[in-house]
């Protein structure tokens, strides 16, 4: 697709505001400091002494003397286009062009709490996740920008002694049509700063949207810096005198250091110190080697001789966990959803479909292995991180250091992917980095320390998408109508749960499913027997429930001679949004016309899957070629999505492409434990989708005026089941366990 090639000035775009600047800018609501100094409000000057230059009517909008707008993002940009979405909302309501808007990451502060996560957790938290950024910012950011605009317009009205309503704004210039007078925002900042903040501002009507929903004019704000190497990730951040730490984690999860002989490591030129990082119930800990250079630190780690105490370590492997979970899958669990009365047997002429499904632990494997830079100086601590869990990590750091949260500043940097990994209730890698900094300080090391995980740490000492065993049983009548669905999900819960409580995330997509099923029972077991640390992965519980639900529906359709599309349609009578998405994907994929066969008569088939997650409905149709040797490839994907108002259509398409690609990897990958250790270590044995497996995409967005919902996650859940359904249609086998591997039995 062609895009407007307007280039933003490349900048690293990501310098956070310090706490002092933050309070300076926000503390006294409207005693706004508008400096007489000139200066471009880019990220760099904001981070410097010039912060007070801005006209800052609220926490989110600043305008500098040159009329450049800075949007303060309470959310992390980890690839999903969040910064661009925020800039679009702000530019829309401010009536300025996108090129005049830059975005900086906010510090950790509860005034930047995520309104949607706050509702979920019942307490304010600042964090990014659950595809909430655009949904949360939709009103918040637009109101913040509209307020700023109104104050600037009021300032012009006062200057010209006219009614504010008689003024319009184009590209940051206020215009009085009748008299022909014009004045730029930059010349109104001082006046506006003295005006009261309007209580209720009028938001634009969708008919007047200029940027929201536009195909042109809203290029991603972070793209230029991400094409020339200038974007700064934590991995790239340096502070004067900084040391790099590479850590030896216990080979068996939760093992502890018994003793360490660091003499050989310390003998390596450039190794500065060896620091033991005590593990606890939240972090693995281990022994870190500090050097000025990552390679030296890594060499030092390799030279450590550590004796591990495995008395508290995980000793079992995935097989034992699966076996225990299989047993649980046969036993009644905690009821998450129950309606109607389950049928034990099929009525005359009916059908029962029953299967047990197994899915492995997964590692998020963001492209940037986890890392965190901690600068501990006296009574303050500065943390530089691709920060996804701002206030949680801030509190964790404060607790470790015996500080008040105000003594901990978090500087948000670009994250080289996350997929849920960095939003961690245990704050694990941040906790490890801060614990390391504290211990090093106690050893007399006064330097900022950047903890850098190697890829192997990121795969072996990390936190995983939970392994699940699910048992699912459908009863259909003689006409193929789904009468009863009994679905039991066994897996570790995503968060610590009181005994007997339902973890809604573990059963999401099953509990509130898209389809109308008269008799439904969803149960869960969330055993705590095996202490493998688990955390949400892009689309959370949907990663494991979508595969089961959407492939079993196809299995039922095949068993009862129904078309999978029509079968789904028949159960969506009460779900017009999902039905519209399904119909759209069927139409655009020519569902009713068989695919032509491939070269040399290779079989080709479509598979479909549908899933509503995080308020967004997505359906994929995958066109799959099955080679004669059993290997398969996805040639093309047609996607339909309803995410409410499409703020940035191209960002939405990109997230559907990326979400599908991420979900496609589920067919190939799995983290396996053996005797307490992870077998996989790196991309050589943990396959991820590559260019040669990439399909073509055709994404269709349902026009909508509903409030927007997220797009970062919802492309993932229906990906793997759509492909599995296409394969099953060709081979006649139903696939119940992942990973499938690169090939399947062809008959």
């Amino acid at each position: 697709m062609k895009r407007n090639s307007t280039r933003h000035e490349p900048h690293d775009g990501f310098v956070g505001l310090s706490r002092r600047q933050f309070l300076g800018g926000m503390g006294a609501a409207l005693t706004l400091a508008v400096s007489l100094k000139s200066g471009i409000a880019n990220a760099a000057s904001l981070a410097s002494e010039a912060a007070a230059d801005a006209f800052a009517p609220n926490a989110f909008i600043r305008i500098d003397e040159a009329g450049k707008v800075t949007v303060v993002s309470s959310y992390l940009e980890m690839g999903q286009g969040t910064f661009t979405g925020l800039a679009t909302l702000a530019a829309e309501e401010l009536d300025v062009p996108m090129r005049d808007v830059s975005v900086v990451g906010s510090p950790a502060d509860l005034r930047y709490a995520n309104p949607i996560l706050e509702a979920v957790f019942g307490r304010p938290v600042q964090g990014t996740g659950g595809s909430t950024a655009m949904a949360g910012a939709w009103n918040q950011m637009r109101e913040a920008a509209a307020t700023a605009r109104q104050m600037l317009v009021n300032a012009a009205a006062r200057r010209w002694q006219v009614e504010p309503a008689s003024l319009s704004v184009t590209d940051g210039v206020v215009v009085h049509e009748a008299s022909g007078q014009r004045i730029a925002y930059r010349d109104l900042l001082a006046d506006a700063a003295e005006l009261p903040v309007p209580e209720n501002v009028q938001l634009k009507s969708p008919d007047d949207f200029r940027l929201i929903g536009a195909e042109q004019g809203t290029p991603r704000v972070d793209v230029p810096a991400k094409t020339n190497g200038s974007a700064i990730f934590t991995q790239d951040k340096k502070l004067p005198g900084m040391l790099v730490a590479v850590i030896a984690h216990p080979p068996k999860l939760w093992g502890k250091v018994q003793s360490v002989d660091s003499s050989q490591a310390e003998a390596i030129p450039g190794v500065v110190a060896v620091v033991e990082v005590p593990g606890d119930d939240k972090i693995q800990g281990g022994v870190a080697v500090l050097a000025h250079n990552t390679w030296v630190a890594r060499q030092g780690r390799g030279a450590l001789k550590i004796t591990w105490d495995d008395s508290q370590a995980l000793t079992v492997g995935s097989e034992a966990i699966l076996s225990a979970f299989r047993d649980l899958a046969e036993q009644p669990g905690i009821v998450a959803e129950a309606r109607g009365t389950l049928l034990d047997d099929a009525p005359e002429g009916g059908t029962v479909i029953e299967a047990v499904y197994e899915q492995p632990y997964l590692a998020h494997s963001a492209m940037e292995p986890m890392n965190c830079l901690v600068d501990l100086q006296g009574d303050r601590c500065d943390i530089y991180n691709g920060e996804q869990w701002h206030t949680g990590d801030q509190s964790a750091a404060a607790e470790i250091l015996g500080f008040e949260t105000e003594q901990v500043s978090i500087h948000q940097l670009y994250a080289g992917g996350s997929f849920g990994r960095r939003a961690n209730a245990r704050s694990d890698y941040v906790r490890e980095a801060v614990t390391l900094a504290r211990t090093a300080r106690d050893q007399g090391i006064e330097a900022p320390i950047k903890l850098v995980w190697m890829r192997e740490d990121d795969m072996r000492a990390t936190q995983y998408r939970p392994l699940t065993v699910q048992k699912s049983r459908m009863v259909l009548d003689d006409a193929g109508k789904l009468l009863s669905w009994h679905w039991r999900i066994v897996g570790q819960s995503f968060m610590e749960m009181p005994e007997g409580a339902v973890d809604d995330s573990l059963v999401e997509g099953a509990k509130e499913m898209d389809y109308d099923v008269p008799n439904l029972r969803v149960e869960q077991h969330n055993p705590t027997t095996f202490p493998v640390p688990v955390v949400w992965l892009r689309s959370v519980g949907h990663t494991h429930t979508a595969f089961v639900g959407e492939t079993q529906i196809d299995e039922a359709a095949r068993a009862t001679g129904q078309d999978p599309y029509q079968f789904r349609r028949s159960m969506l009578g009460n779900n017009p949004r999902a039905l519209a998405v399904l119909d759209l994907v069927a139409e655009k994929s020519n569902w009713d016309t068989p695919l032509p066969e491939g070269e040399n008569g290779e079989r080709r088939h479509r598979g479909m899957a549908l899933r509503t997650s995080f308020g967004t409905v997505v359906a994929h149709v995958a066109e799959v070629t099955l080679h004669t040797d059993g290997s398969y490839v996805v040639d093309r994907v047609v996607t339909a999505i309803d995410c409410g108002v499409a703020i940035n259509p191209d960002v939405i398409r990109a997230q559907m492409e990326g979400g599908f690609g991420f979900g496609l990897s589920f067919l190939r990958q799995g983290i396996v434990f053996e005797a307490g250790s992870v077998v996989q270590s790196n991309f050589n044995d943990y396959p991820v989708m590559r260019m040669n497996a990439t399909p073509q995409f055709d994404v269709h967005i349902v026009p909508s005026s509903n409030a927007p919902s997220g797009v970062g996650e919802p492309g993932v859940p229906p990906a793997a089941p759509a492909v599995a359904n296409a394969l099953a249609a060709m081979t006649g086998h139903a696939y119940h366990s992942l990973p499938l591997g690169g090939s399947v039995a062809t008959s």
Binding site: R3, S5, V223, K226, N228, P269, E657, N682, M691, N692
Partner: protein, 155 residues
């Protein structure tokens, strides 16, 4: 003493000759555009050019570049093909998290140097060593084709 050029400037290094070039570039030369992703030549995030050819700098001992010319993402814009590729990346809105993209661009530039109008198979062959966990692959493919078209037009 190991001497070589990086992006046209002379460099000399007398530390551990086995240190991979990646860490020299990132930690010693402050050229952080080249990224660490796997350390075992499985992801391509660390791709740079040595004497014009793409290599994975994470497994390239710094000693092996003695007397040679290293080029990184930071100088891509100084070459006609690099500049075209970067423009195509912006026009195609390729990056998501962006972490892999330096390596992707360096691999793409190397491909276009040897094959100015690559087929999809050529792209698969040249680019499949570069992982993108955000799966921006379809846009990378489109951007390479688009840069190739402009290259043909300008030639």
């Amino acid at each position: 003493m190991i001497t070589f050029t990086v992006n046209g400037s002379s460099h000399a290094f007398d530390g551990d000759p086995n240190m991979p070039l990646l860490w020299y570039l990132r930690d010693e030369a402050d050229l952080t555009g080249t990224k660490f992703g796997c350390g075992i030549a499985m992801c391509g995030a660390c791709t740079v050019h040595i004497d014009g050819r793409p290599v994975r700098s994470c497994l390239t001992p710094v000693a092996s570049v003695d007397g040679r010319s290293v080029e990184t993402i930071e100088t891509a814009e100084n070459h006609p093909i690099g500049k075209l590729v970067q423009q195509a990346w912006v026009e195609g809105q390729v990056p998501q998290c962006g972490y892999c993209q330096s390596g992707q661009i360096m691999s793409a530039v190397a491909l276009l140097k040897t094959k100015p109008s690559p087929t999809d198979d050529d792209i698969d062959a040249a680019m499949s060593g570069n992982i993108c966990r955000c799966a921006t692959y379809p846009r990378i493919r489109a951007a390479i084709h688009s840069a190739a078209e402009k290259l043909a037009y300008e030639a």
